[in-house]
Symmetry: C2
Subunit: 230 residues, 2 copies
């Protein structure tokens, strides 16, 4: 099913500006908290090369945050206020998924980055083309994911016990991530309207379900790339 | 006393290259660990604006690290190996100075950044002009210190009890920093030779003492700028 173009949004949908601010706000706080957690997780790394690679990923997240905050400021919106509604859900995700070692940290960085990217891309389908193009640019992978894939594969290909543990970890991550994403989507009227508004009543919940099915499927493929069963 | 120019280094001094690698190595790890600790400390901040300001300071440290690592690589030296001898001393400093709240974190960022800058600048006096100019560029304050000064002053000017606590914290920081800096200077033959080699025997220890006196004096002035007694 091809999602409708933004021009088909129903008249009772919230102002487009509000949805754009919510999208940029949740994305900005996702990047900011991603920075913080990855910077902390980098400390778990056993050696300097891995530590600095994770730190570099964290710094990339921070620069994404800066670009998003700047965009919000240019829209005349306080970026702190735009992020505020999403702090609890995103912090809750991180609080419930503390990695116990550097490998779990790497898998979390890769998996949650991927899920976040999919989720935001789905939302971005329904905003104006300029915002959509902007979000797509910000979300573009800087090639750092390959480092995670190579590093994790090298370990799990040689160690079945670690592979099992990380596979379990991946399942927990996707469960927690989708639970928080659902809360975010449902708690913010503007995002809900954005996501379900285009289909008219009846198809709403079904389409939301399909969206999360697509995100879960993409997650399964990412886990395979890590050499893990989802 | 004007330090001698690099050309007066005694013949029994270690190869200049070794001292340069040590200087860039200790500086690189100082920045890398500064990044990690500040990113962690940012989490202590009570509100998003302070949190992101501290995170931005952390990211600046990481970019300094990148520039230094790149310079080492261009010299044909593994930056990880160049940093390795200094990991224990710098980690020890951080482990002994965990801030208990965001204000202590801010004061630590400002104070240890300042002491580090002074210490590295002193060492840089004795290396080749290109390295010296490079280190000076890397160490240039990006204007972030003013944010710390303004934020801390606003709190301590209104709260004498916090001012006393932070003054005590500042004294602990400078004590720990100088202790670790002395260990670094003494443990690395090339740095010791660099620092004391220029003065000939006899003046060595006295000049080292004067260097640490200069660093302590600069620290006192920084504390005053924060509105604190050193």
């Amino acid at each position: 099913m091809t999602p409708p173009s933004p021009t088909t949004r129903p008249e009772n949908a919230p102002p487009a500006q509000e949805a754009v601010v919510d999208l940029l706000g949740v994305l900005a706080y996702g990047c900011l908290s991603g920075f913080s957690r990855m910077a902390v997780d980098a400390e778990l790394a056993p050696a300097l090369p891995v530590k600095t690679a994770i730190a570099a990923m964290a710094v990339t997240e921070f620069h994404h945050y800066e670009v998003l905050a700047d965009r919000l400021d240019r829209l005349g919106v306080s970026h702190d206020e735009a992020m505020a509604p999403f702090v609890a859900a995103i912090d809750s995700f991180h609080d419930r998924t503390h990695p116990s070692d550097w490998l779990e940290g790497l898998v979390k960085a890769y998996v949650s980055d991927g899920i976040g990217r999919d989720f935001y891309s789905e939302i971005a389908t329904y905003v104006d083309p300029q915002t959509r193009a902007f979000v797509t640019r910000v979300l573009a992978d800087a090639g750092q994911a390959q480092f995670v894939v190579d590093t994790v594969r090298a370990v799990v290909d040689a160690d079945q016990r670690t592979a099992s543990r990380l596979a379990l970890w991946g399942r927990r991550l996707v469960g927690e991530a989708i639970q928080q994403a659902q809360q975010v989507a449902v708690a913010r009227e503007s995002l809900t309207a954005l996501l379900v508004g285009g289909w008219g009543s009846g198809a709403d919940i079904a389409e939301l379900g399909r969206m999360f099915a697509r995100i879960t499927q993409a997650h399964t493929e990412r886990m395979k790339r890590l050499g893990l069963t989802a």
